[in-house]
Assembly symmetry: none
Homo-oligomer: 215 residues x 2
C-alpha cells in the first residue's frame, strides 16, 4: 500500500512535515525547492507526484499550497482531528429557519461522545437557550444546547426539543396531539404553548441531546 521512499523523497516528505508544523500551512513548490536545492518547480512537482503515488501526500490541483499529509489526516487525536466543530448559531427569526446555519457566531469543538445519540453528527449544532422555561429541568437561560436538527415528525412525544419562537430559542418537551404541537414547559410559571404545524411563529429545530454551561 505505502511504498518505501527513497532517501531523496524522504527528505522532501520530512521538509513538508516540519514546514507544516512551523508555519501551520503547507509549503509552496518553490519553498520546497529552495529547502531541497531544486531550482525548477517542475522538479519539485515530480517529486510530489511520486509522494502522492506512494500514498504519502494528497494534492489539490491548481490550488496554492494544495498539499496535505495523508498521515496527519487519520491521526486520531494527535493534532486535534478528534473533536468535530459544531457551529454556534446566532439569533435567527423563526420564519427564516434556513438562516440557522448561516453566519454562525463561532465553532466549538465537541467530543464525539456527546453526540453518540445523534443519528447524524453533521446535523448537530449549538444554540443558546433563550429563556428559563425549563429551569426546573435543569436548563437555564444562556445554556448552550446541543441540538440535532430534525423535522417535527421525527420527534416523539415527550422528547426534549428546541424551537425557534420569534427570535428566541426555547427548550421544551414536545407533544403532538390533535393536529397541533404542544410545547410543555417544566416551570409552572410558564404556560403550555400550542402551534399548528408550520406556524411562522414557531419553528421546531430538533432534539436536544445535551447542554454545556459555563459559570
Amino acid at each position: 500500500m505505502k511504498d518505501r521512499l527513497t532517501e531523496r523523497q524522504n527528505e522532501g516528505y520530512e521538509f513538508i512535515r516540519s514546514h507544516m508544523r512551523r508555519e501551520r500551512r503547507p509549503p509552496t513548490l518553490r519553498e520546497i525547492g529552495e529547502a531541497l536545492g531544486i531550482r525548477s518547480t517542475n522538479g519539485v512537482s515530480k517529486l510530489l507526484d511520486v509522494l502522492e503515488e506512494k500514498g504519502y501526500v494528497e494534492r489539490e490541483p491548481h490550488a496554492a499550497r494544495g498539499l496535505r499529509l495523508v498521515e496527519e489526516e487519520r491521526a486520531p487525536l494527535a493534532s486535534g482531528g478528534g473533536a468535530p466543530d459544531l457551529p454556534l448559531v446566532s439569533r435567527t427569526p423563526s420564519d427564516q429557519p434556513d438562516e440557522l446555519r448561516r453566519r454562525p457566531r463561532s465553532y466549538l469543538a465537541v467530543d464525539p461522545r456527546f453526540l453518540r445519540k445523534a443519528d447524524d453528527p453533521r446535523a448537530c449544532l449549538l444554540a443558546r437557550a433563550g429563556d428559563d422555561g425549563m429551569s426546573s429541568d435543569g436548563i437555564r437561560k444562556g445554556d448552550l444546547l446541543v441540538v440535532e436538527e430534525q423535522r417535527a415528525n421525527a420527534l416523539d412525544n415527550g422528547d426534549m426539543a428546541a424551537f425557534l419562537v420569534g427570535e428566541e430559542l426555547r427548550a421544551r418537551r414536545f407533544y403532538y396531539a390533535n393536529g397541533t404541537m404542544h410545547l410543555r414547559s417544566a416551570d409552572s410559571h410558564y404556560t403550555e404553548e400550542t402551534y399548528p404545524p408550520g406556524a411562522a411563529g414557531c419553528h421546531p429545530v430538533g432534539r436536544v441531546l445535551g447542554l454545556f454551561r459555563t459559570f
Copy 2:
C-alpha cells in the same frame, strides 16, 4: 491590546479558525468571502485589515493563504489548535485525594473556550456530580462538572466549588468562616454542611467552571 470584535468580524475570525482546523491551512480571501457571503475580495481584505489591527491575525503580504492566527501561535501544545483532553476522574474516596488523577475513566475533548476562566487548563478535570444538592442551581446528579483543581484557600466565598465527600463528588457554594468550611446547597431539602479544613471526610477539589450534560 486586543480590541473587541464586532459580530461580523467575529464571524470572519471564527470561520478562519474553523477552516484551519478542518483543512490544516489558511483560507484564501475568496474562500472567506464565499463562507460569509462577501462577493468582493476587497471586502474580505478590509475585514482582515481590521482583524489584524485588533491583533487577532497576522498577514504575510502577497503570499497565498498568508494568514496566521495570533492566538494559535502561542498555543502551548503542537496540537494544532485542537481541543485538549480532560481526564474524567473515576470514583475516589475523599481521604485519598491524590488518587483523583490516577486511572481516569476516560478523556474527553473540551474546547478551550470552556476553560477560558481557568488559570491553568492543565489543572482542569471532569467529574460527575454525585447528588442533587445543587439542582435548584441547575446542576443535577450525573452532570459532568468541569473543575479546576484549587486548594481551598484559593477559593472565594460564594464560589461554586466541588468537594469529595466520602466517595461522592458534590457541587456546593463555598464559604469560609470562623475556621470552618461551609458547603451550602441550593436545595432546601439539603442542609448546610460544615467541615474543619483538612477533614478526612471532605476534600475540596476546586472551582466549578462549567458543566456538560447529555439527555
